[in-house]
């Protein structure tokens, strides 16, 4: 049982009775989920089942879509993220996000990382050092150290994605949301990102959406399986992959392993 496994961990995100509608259409249905701290939690499920939507709920990106309506409760570190006193900027600084397609800013490599530090008011004289530190942690520093002033868009897709990770961790989040971060990348770049994820989980709570079963198995400690807007099963990754409780989960996993 998942409860047994979760006992050894500390919950950081707690989702209860979460429903989300785009207009009339219900996309998330009564989600209950507790995400443990400093672990990697994978979200798997067929395309369109609501994985991205659930992820984007956690840093309130749906605030940007006027037709999204949410009911239920999500707390992070015990704080209700939808409470009227919750500052959405603070929340998003704490809950960083890496997107499906690498989306560097149309700025230099250096400025891509420095930007988040500037807007969050980190001391000016600390910024160069923090930029370098984040680039090192994301294993991209050596590749870009001689061209920090060049446009970030000139980097390869894999490098851009690591730069996006660097920019995310620069502002010192506690949680990193990753929405299929490798889906636009080649196998070698994917491998590098996966190594990076394993490294990062020492310091951060990571929630990663992936459509790649093997990737979920390789990098995650816990896995959530979603289907048609519902959370079907959540458990330790090895349990989900080897001995799932629900038939639906088993079918999905088997189907994908061929």
């Amino acid at each position: 049982m998942v409860q047994a496994a979760l006992v050894k961990t500390k919950p950081v995100i707690e989702i209860s009775d979460l429903n989300l509608y785009f207009g009339e259409k219900q996309v998330l249905k009564n989600i209950q989920l507790t995400i443990p701290q400093k672990m990697v939690t994978a979200m798997i499920g067929p395309s369109g089942c609501g994985k991205s939507t659930l992820l984007r709920t956690l840093n309130r990106l749906h605030d940007l879509s006027p037709d999204a309506r949410i009911t239920g409760k999500v707390t992070i570190d015990g704080q209700d993220i939808f409470h009227k006193n919750t500052l959405v900027n603070k929340l998003r600084k704490k809950v960083g996000m890496v997107f499906q397609k690498p989306n560097p800013f149309p700025k230099s490599i250096y400025d891509n990382v420095a930007y988040g530090l500037q807007i969050n008011g980190f001391p000016k004289d600390k910024i160069p050092q923090m930029v370098e530190e984040s680039l090192r942690k994301s294993y991209i520093f050596d590749e870009v150290k001689d061209k920090l002033q060049e446009p970030a868009t000139r980097l390869s897709g894999g490098q851009q994605q690591r730069l996006c990770i660097a920019r995310t961790i620069a502002v010192k989040p506690e949680i990193i949301l990753m929405d299929e971060p490798c889906s636009a990348l080649d196998p070698l770049s994917t491998l590098k990102i996966e190594e990076l994820i394993l490294e990062l989980k020492n310091d951060y709570t990571i929630v990663i959406v992936t459509h790649n079963m093997q990737q979920a198995a390789r990098v995650s400690d816990f896995t959530a399986f979603m289907y048609l807007g519902e959370l079907i099963e959540f458990d330790e990754t090895h349990k989900i992959f080897n001995n799932p409780e629900k038939q639906l989960t088993e079918n999905y996993i088997k189907g994908h392993f061929g």
Binding site: L61, K90, M97, K101, N103, P106, Y115, I119, P151, T153
Partner: protein, 291 residues
């Protein structure tokens, strides 16, 4: 239809399109040659140095470009000083802030503004704005550079708003989300991400609006007083290059110095608008490398 016929039709259209393409270039070149030819004729009678240093335009003796050029620059720059902040602000409001009803009303309203004929704008200047200016500043005559600048700003606004709004709208949502995702506020995102990314398009918008203002004739002819005295400020009555050509071309005797002089003015106008376009193009390219 058999295959040979199709191939033949294909060839015919290729030729048709090529002719259309070359016709454009031919028209451009012949207009330029016409201006150049008549300007050369002008300079065989009036020294180029006199043309650009004489401070009077008085076509019996004086053919000085300066008062007309100063007038054109004065109204154009005045118009831009009004239209650029207003236009970019409106464009930002439409694409980043406005929602629902307001947004749906504002875009067509802006487009309708561009459908107003320039004569009507000139009329507005004579009947509404210039009396307003003379009351406000205690002037005897409100038909001056300020009046022209305000009207030209109104005329340049739709171009600036539409083109800038397209550029701002084209900034990918994913990039904006990345900014919000780092904890940026709306204004921080607009200022640091949206505006820089839309910069080439915004420059293009400004340049197009400026081209419109420089080349506009009817409005300034009606609303700026058409005084040939050298302008001293926004309260001066002025006469732009365009208005001068329009007023004098109808009455000037064929192939006189005066006649050629108007072509020289037209060539200057042509060179200014071309310079604006080339400059815009270069700025756009310089910025674009970051995209």
């Amino acid at each position: 239809m058999n295959n040979r016929l199709r191939v033949r039709i294909d060839k015919v259209f290729k030729v048709v399109f090529r002719i259309a393409g070359f016709a454009c270039i031919a028209i451009l070149v012949s207009i330029f040659m016409m201006l150049l030819y008549n300007t050369v004729a002008f300079f065989s009678q009036i020294k180029p140095l006199d043309f650009i240093t004489d401070t009077q335009w008085n076509p019996s003796r004086h053919f000085g470009l300066l008062p007309l050029l100063a007038s054109t620059l004065l109204v154009t720059l005045g118009a831009m000083a009004i239209a650029i902040p207003l236009g970019i602000g409106t464009a930002l409001f439409i694409s980043e802030y406005a929602t629902g009803f307001v947004k749906n009303m504002l875009k067509p309203a802006v487009e309708m503004l561009s459908a107003i004929p320039s004569v009507v704008i000139g009329f507005l200047g004579i009947v509404v704005i210039s009396p307003g200016i003379s009351n406000l500043f205690g002037l005897s005559n409100g038909l001056n550079a300020l009046n022209g600048a305000i009207l030209l700003a109104i005329m340049a606004l739709p171009t600036i708003i539409t083109v800038a709004e397209d550029a701002i709208h084209a900034v990918p949502m994913t990039v904006k989300e990345a900014s919000y995702g780092l904890g940026a506020t709306k204004w921080a995102t607009v200022k640091n991400i949206v505006l820089p990314a839309a910069y080439p398009g915004i420059i293009a918008a400004i340049m197009l609006g400026m081209g419109r203002a420089i080349g506009e004739t009817m409005t300034v002819l009606m609303a700026t007083g058409n005084s040939l005295a050298f302008p001293t400020g926004f309260f001066s009555s002025i006469r732009t290059i365009t208005a001068t050509i329009a007023i004098e071309m109808g009455e000037v005797p064929f192939q006189t110095t005066h006649y050629y002089g108007l072509f020289a003015l037209a060539l200057i106008l042509f060179l200014i608008t071309m310079a604006v376009n080339v400059l815009a193009e270069r700025m756009v390219n310089r910025i674009r490398k970051f995209q």
